[in-house]
């Protein structure tokens, strides 16, 4: 089963690379003309066409692109005159820090509140949680970010307005720059996960084994944490795993709100400067990351629920 999962993973990554190739090398017609603009001198165009391999047949370009990917060569940035792989490697830690911090926010908020809402189903607290989740899903992350900036950076001055501090510059500075972006990115995901935790826990609470556990004389907390949470976690992990794609996608936007120098900014600069190799490389790397993380979640699922790995 694991071998099959690995094969699916490889095929999906291959397909994302193919789609990126078709979108950015085939759809624009002449990428060199798109990158240099309409009034570019023919000599420069010819040089760039040669650099991009456009003078080769399309299947040779495709093979070269896949071969490059397999060996970690994503082409050369037209704008920075540097390997795309290096540019991505410099910015990936920012995006991943943001996504990971947002994941922590999501789980820390969603698990306890979702469980509590399920235990007190249809109480004012539960209804409050339900209303908050609707609101959390409706408020776009970049607007939430702007509101948080208005409140905590402009008015209260608790957090820096813009920018990023790498981890080696000190944990406090790193965390200080990440708190607001992580809350911004995690809020909607937390809302979604909370709805799901609540639903899953409600479902488990109604099962016979819960009645048995209570009949044995176990206290509310023991039943909730020892039995309900463990079983409710199985679907919750799947949903949390699906959030990874949303988190990495959302990170692109949230980076812009807080001026974080991550992959999102690199992609946008690439679009504005018509630096197609950068866009192409960043898109494939991010998509591959999502695929790998989803595969990891699939395997985790088997660890949490032994019934799955037996099949």
């Amino acid at each position: 089963m694991r071998a099959a999962r690995l094969l699916t993973l490889i095929l999906t990554v291959l397909m994302t690379a193919t789609i990126a190739f078709v979108l950015l090398r085939v759809v624009p017609g002449d990428p060199a003309a798109l990158m240099l603009g309409l009034d570019a001198p023919p000599a420069e165009l010819a040089v760039l066409r040669h650099q991009l391999g456009e003078d080769q047949p399309i299947w040779a370009q495709y093979a070269a692109w896949l071969g490059g990917l397999a060996t970690g060569h994503l082409g050369t940035s037209f704008q920075y005159h540097a390997p795309v792989a290096t540019l991505i490697a410099e910015r990936l830690p920012v995006t991943l820090s943001l996504a990971a911090a947002a994941m922590v926010v999501t789980v820390v908020v969603a698990l306890p509140l979702g469980l509590l809402a399920a235990v007190r189903a249809w109480s004012p607290l539960d209804l409050g949680v339900l209303a908050a989740t609707q609101l959390g899903l409706a408020v776009p992350n970049f607007w939430l970010g702007i509101l948080l900036l208005l409140a905590f950076s402009v008015s209260l001055r608790w957090f820096p307005l813009q920018g990023y501090a790498p981890l080696h510059a000190g944990v406090a500075a790193w965390a200080g720059h990440l708190v607001l972006p992580a809350v911004t990115l995690g809020a909607a995901r937390a809302a979604q996960l909370m709805r799901f935790v609540r639903g899953a826990a409600l479902e488990e609470l109604g099962r016979e084994y819960v009645r048995t556990a209570r009949g044995k004389g176990l206290g509310g907390r023991a039943v909730l944490l020892g039995h309900v949470l463990r079983n409710a976690l199985i679907p919750v992990v799947t949903v949390a795993g699906l959030q990874i794609g949303f988190l990495l996608g959302g990170a692109i936007i949230v980076e812009q709100v807080f001026g974080l120098p991550g992959i999102g900014r690199l992609v946008l600069q690439g679009i504005f400067a018509r630096d197609l190799p950068v866009v192409q490389g960043a898109v494939v790397v991010l998509a591959a990351f999502v695929c790998v993380l989803n595969a990891v979640v699939d395997l985790l699922y088997g660890v949490l629920d032994p019934r799955v790995s037996v099949e």
Partner: protein, 279 residues
């Protein structure tokens, strides 16, 4: 389920109604997307003449918010239309020809779904250029696999039912069976799906415009207005508040309406929305 209890549907309709009336007024009598620049009255706070204040070019924020609504609904409708028509058509192709067309389509759709939606949209925009028409197309293409997956699964389920067999036995062609018998069966689900994806499409347009690659100035867009607002955050907070409120109210309205619609059209799904107590 009585009408009184389907509160989500009505709450959603009211919220959407408020936005649509405002947007309709702006389009019909307020000059639509074209809002006059008046630099001498720039960055004025909300007042009797400018209920939502003015922006950094002295334009009325209320008029721009309503004009931006027209763009948002237009992009949302067209993008969902592209996803609905494209996804449904390809799903029917995959149901009709089960062997290699279905397999190739399946692989391509899986590949498209592996991208975070916003990333796919950015890649398409990198190829097509920036602008709201390009944003519409990019968002629409991202929705194709969403509709494809659901329509195909439902069509395969419906296709095995007796009335479909009966139609086949009477000599109906495959195309006729799919068009006249299978598609009408799954139409309610498609309507629900279209509603839930519409709010996502509106959000996507705002996100792309916030990133600067969607709707371009001078056309108003909620996302673009919020981008402009970040440059005047300390001086003109109203520029950051009102477009966001409009966006959130619209998305909340559509989400509630979609939830209510699902309850009304398909009561069996109600349990999954978590509104009815399970224990």
């Amino acid at each position: 389920m009585t009408r009184r209890r389907n509160r989500a549907l009505w709450a959603g309709l009211v919220l959407l109604g408020v936005v649509l009336v405002g947007v309709g007024y702006q389009v019909l009598w307020g000059g639509g997307a074209d809002v006059r620049i008046a630099v001498q009255q720039r960055l004025e706070p909300p007042s009797a003449t400018h209920a939502f204040g003015t922006d950094d070019l002295g334009r009325d924020v209320l008029a721009r918010v309503l004009g931006g609504g027209a763009i948002a609904f237009q992009v949302g409708l067209v993008a969902v239309g592209i996803g609905l028509v494209g996804g449904t058509f390809l799903a029917m192709v995959a149901v009709r020809w089960r062997r290699w067309p279905a397999r190739i389509l399946g692989a391509v759709m899986d590949g498209l779904m592996a991208f975070p939606a916003i990333l796919l949209a950015l890649a398409i925009i990198a190829a097509l250029g920036t602008g709201y028409v390009q944003a519409m197309i990019a968002i629409g293409i991202g929705l194709v696999p969403v509709f494809w997956r659901q329509t195909r699964a439902q069509a395969l389920a419906v296709e095995g039912l007796e009335f479909v067999l009966a139609a086949r036995a009477l000599g109906a062609t495959e195309a006729r069976v799919l068009w006249r018998h299978v598609l009408p069966q799954i139409a309610p689900l498609l309507v629900i799906q279209a509603t839930t994806t519409f709010s996502g499409a509106v959000l996507a347009e705002a996100s792309l415009s916030f990133l600067g690659v969607g709707t371009q100035p001078p056309l108003p867009s909620w996302g673009r207005m919020l981008l402009d607002a970040t440059r005047a955050l300390g001086v003109a907070p109203w520029m950051a508040i009102f477009p966001g409120v409009a966006l959130a109210v619209t998305v909340l309205g559509v989400n509630l309406f979609g939830d209510g619609l699902r309850d009304a059209l398909d009561p069996q799904l109600r349990r999954l929305t978590g509104r009815e107590p399970v224990v």
